[in-house]
Amino acid sequence: MSLENRIAEIIVSRLNVKPEEVTDSANLKDDLGADSLDMVDLMMDLEDTFNLKISDEEGNTLQTVGSVVSFLKTKGIEA
């Protein structure tokens, strides 16, 4: 499974959104309805799935689906 698809799967399950809503430019809060509590748990899901640490500062920069994808790529995660 591609990195994009794995991330999409996590977002769909955490935020209870439809897969087609999870586009590159979709904003996690404004478009996908995440609140601050969802964001904390979403970061934990990403940390557990990809086995990395996401600092609060890094987490705050992750506003869109696309930003999550590129962040994980900068951490050397490809799939």
Partner: protein, 417 residues
């Protein structure tokens, strides 16, 4: 004292004997037990293996997947019951000013399942993996908070936590709120989801649960019976819509019964055992009658707390005698826990609902499993079969660990009286 009167104009329930008011009422009257072999958790773990479970409850379907994921089962049950009660009342934002609608929902322990699941994660993977939803899901006031969001109810809002008297305290506080003019409408009752390792295990350790009918679950909850051996743990939610009488009449509401009086007291005696002679319970009953303007001879029916434990049933019987005097030999007494089990923080709501329907329908639901009275249990417990009776005034008792006693007095509603 305020001259405002309080009536019940909506009911909602998810319980071991049904997920609608009519189903629960019919099963209570038919004496059809909802107690089964425990299935939400491995029964072999416990000495008591029977329970009253809410069946066919799909929170995702009823509340949406997001609400289902972000709320403990106790809150889910409360939300579903409150939606039903609100629909039954016919109220909306036109007929009730949202700022004049309050919510008080009791629970004995709140989000026990959430607590246990997250504690397991914390032990296994460390406290940094505790979900951000842990605290809001676990706290015992979230049912009241979440129901207010659902109904846009912006009036007084809180939770009551008094073990098995929680929902009766919620209803009592709601009556007060309406009488004091703090709200026109109160959405109130209780919710509990205690079928978890720690709850069942804890009550088993107290020797509070029935262990002698594991192979005959439907007979396990036997209030006032000589073969009773403890209560049957159960889950569920029951929510009532209480409304100021003139408000209800003005909008042409269907009125189920009047909540005429409230009594409450404490034993100040022991953390779990009732006071000798049911002294505290008797005082709550007298206070409720006085508040309602009822004399002992007016009381036709007592919906007993009747847990099916040795101590409760003897002492509550003594309390009914102390409170009603000679009327105790005439009054009908039943414990519907015989069919729905002990729903703990939700049980008062359930029983006050059934008492209201008994007044409305002129039928007293039985103590369905009662066969032979236990020692010291010498009242008419309406054993086995429902009784047709044109009852006018009724009392419903709820008693909680901590020595908390609540009695709610209800009166048949007969229009302009």
């Amino acid at each position: 004292m305020s001259d405002k009167r309080v009536v019940i104009t909506g009911l909602g329930v998810f319980s071991p004997i049904g997920n609608t008011t009519s189903e629960a009422w019919e099963n209570a009257v038919a004496g059809k037990s909802g107690v089964r072999k425990l299935s939400r958790i491995d029964p072999e773990l416990f000495t008591s293996q029977v329970a009253g479970e809410v069946r066919d409850f799909d929170p995702s379907e009823l509340l949406g997947p997001k609400n289902a994921r972000r709320n403990d089962r106790y809150t889910q049950l409360a939300m579903a019951a409150a939606e039903q009660a609100w629909a039954d009342s016919g109220l909306d934002e036109e007929s009730a000013d949202p700022e004049r609608v309050g919510v008080v929902i009791g629970s004995g322990v709140g989000g026990m399942e959430t607590f246990e699941n997250q504690h397991a994660i914390a032990l296994d993977r460390g406290p940094r993996r505790i979900s951000s939803m842990f605290v809001p899901m676990m706290i015992s006031n979230m049912a009241a908070g979440q129901v207010a969001i659902d109904l846009n109810a912006k009036g007084p809002n809180f939770a009551t936590v008094t073990a098995c008297a929680s929902s009766s305290h919620a209803i009592a506080s709601s009556v007060d709120a309406i009488r004091l003019g703090r709200a026109d409408v109160m959405v109130t009752g209780g919710s509990e989801a205690p079928l978890t390792m720690m709850s069942i295990g804890g009550f088993c350790s107290m020797k509070a649960l029935c262990t002698t009918f594991n192979d005959e679950p439907e007979k396990a909850s036997r209030p006032f019976d000589k073969d009773r051996s403890g209560f049957v743990i159960a889950e569920g939610a029951c929510i009532l819509v209480l409304e100021e009488l003139e408000h209800a009449i003005a909008r042409g509401a269907h009125i189920i019964a009047e909540v005429a009086g409230v009594g409450m007291s404490c034993d100040a005696h022991h953390i779990t055992a009732p006071a000798p002679g049911g002294e505290g319970c008797a005082r709550a009953m007298k206070m409720a009658m006085q508040d309602a303007g009822m004399n002992p001879e007016d009381v036709d029916y007592v919906n007993a707390h009747g847990t099916s434990t040795n101590l409760n049933d003897i002492n509550e019987t003594a309390a009914i005698r102390a409170a009603l005097g000679a009327q105790a030999d005439r009054v009908l007494v039943s414990s519907t826990k015989s069919v729905h089990g002990h729903m703990l923080g939700a049980t008062g709501g359930m029983e006050i609902m059934l008492t209201a329907l008994a007044l409305k329908n002129g039928v007293v639901p039985p103590t369905a499993t009662h066969e032979s009275p236990g020692e010291g249990c010498d009242l008419d417990y309406v054993p086995g079969t429902a009784r047709k009776a044109d009852i006018q005034c009724a009392l419903s008792n709820s008693l909680g660990f901590g020595g908390h006693n609540v009695c709610i007095a209800l009166r048949k509603y007969k229009g302009d009286s």
